[in-house]
Symmetry: C2
Subunit: 229 residues, 2 copies
């Protein structure tokens, strides 16, 4: 049995740092742009940039800068743009704060199962967070990927010679951590996070909800697995 | 025998795109900053950002923006900063142009040896270039890493169960592709590139030069390996 974990907002705090930076940007731009769709405009910019910049804090910072220039009609000042870069740098330099129950659960499970970490985003930023988390040694395999879809997971299973019915994936995103695994025939565990990114949000109906497990805290995972596996 | 290749400026053109963007930035900033150390100031900014932003085109773009703000004392305009982002986007959207002899050599060697690709930089950008290069299927192993030093190579050799004396590494950077491999006891092949980044430059003395191979074009590689191995 291989138990794989997402990292950002599953093992440690991530999304709230992005939302804080976003809130600071909105406040900065409010004097240039009175529209109520400011947040939506920023999101549109991020999505537009996704196929060239990818995911992660550097891509997000570049999108914040482009939004600031566009929505201020070029009036945003040099020092304000410097402040946006510092917001991005702030996201990348946050101490890694583990979520409730993570350290104990990962430590306990690593003695019984082979653990894997599968995370998406900036390679450099992710490796830095993994190193600072203090959890790296508990994982037999660590993979940083640029997209988390069915094709990526399928490649990882082949690469590591893992049978789907021997594979569990645990994460906070239905879109990236849960639904692709269900499709592949593995066991998926959803642990929702209070703060989400709209891009990761999907609505699921009741019949889909029956295809995966849902927990409120990672510390319920050992019991779920011992009951199910 | 495992033959590993660097990618940027070993298999395809990369550094010239960065230098072109840099030249455009210097021209833009010349009216704000008369100093002749403009290029050096930009480099200092990149090095300062390395431990938080890492390598790659997004990190470079953020450093260009910070340099522009600092050296213009905040006077650089919104549309000029937009132009800097577009320079960065230009680097990331260049078509992948294979260097001379690469396609034939890689194709030929893949039928005789197990090939590996080891490249450094933005994960998303590197994966995109690997996919667009048309070469991905020739490599048994592809690794995108955030740093190319002795520790990283050592981890890769352990991970893939490769003996150093069975390992060849081919690349354009003495610092990143050649010297760490020599230290580990593998065979290193240096194929210099006309355009280099000063960060990758190292001076080597004659005795060090004896520890690795030097070629002018990748198409000389099969003969070198069959003579040496």
């Amino acid at each position: 049995m291989i138990i794989a974990f997402d990292a950002d907002d599953t093992l440690w705090v991530n999304e709230p740092y992005f939302r804080e930076a976003e809130a600071a940007l909105l406040e900065m731009l409010s004097r240039y742009y009175p529209g109520e769709d400011l947040l939506d405009r920023l999101y549109q910019q991020e999505i537009k940039n996704l196929n060239i910049f990818g995911y992660g804090a550097k891509a997000f910072t570049l999108s914040m800068i482009e939004s600031a220039i566009e929505l201020s009609h070029g009036k945003v000042s040099g020092s304000e743009i410097q402040r946006i870069i510092d917001l991005g740098r702030g996201i990348m330099s946050q101490p890694v704060k583990l979520l409730k129950g993570v350290e104990e659960t990962i430590k306990q499970m690593s003695s019984e199962h082979q653990l894997m970490l599968i995370t998406k985003g900036d390679l450099f930023d992710q490796e830095s967070k993994i190193a600072r988390s203090g959890l790296a040694d508990y994982f037999r395999i660590i993979e940083v990927v640029s997209e988390k879809d069915e094709a990526t997971y399928n490649q990882l299973l082949i690469k590591h010679n893992i049978q789907p019915d021997q594979f569990w994936m645990v994460g906070n995103s239905l879109r990236s951590d849960v639904l692709p695994i269900v499709e592949l025939g593995g066991q998926a565990v959803h642990i929702p996070c209070d703060v989400g990114w709209v891009h990761e949000h999907v609505d699921v109906d009741e019949s889909t909800r029956q295809t995966y497990h849902e927990l409120t805290c990672i510390d319920q995972l050992p019991e779920l697995i011992s009951k199910t596996a």
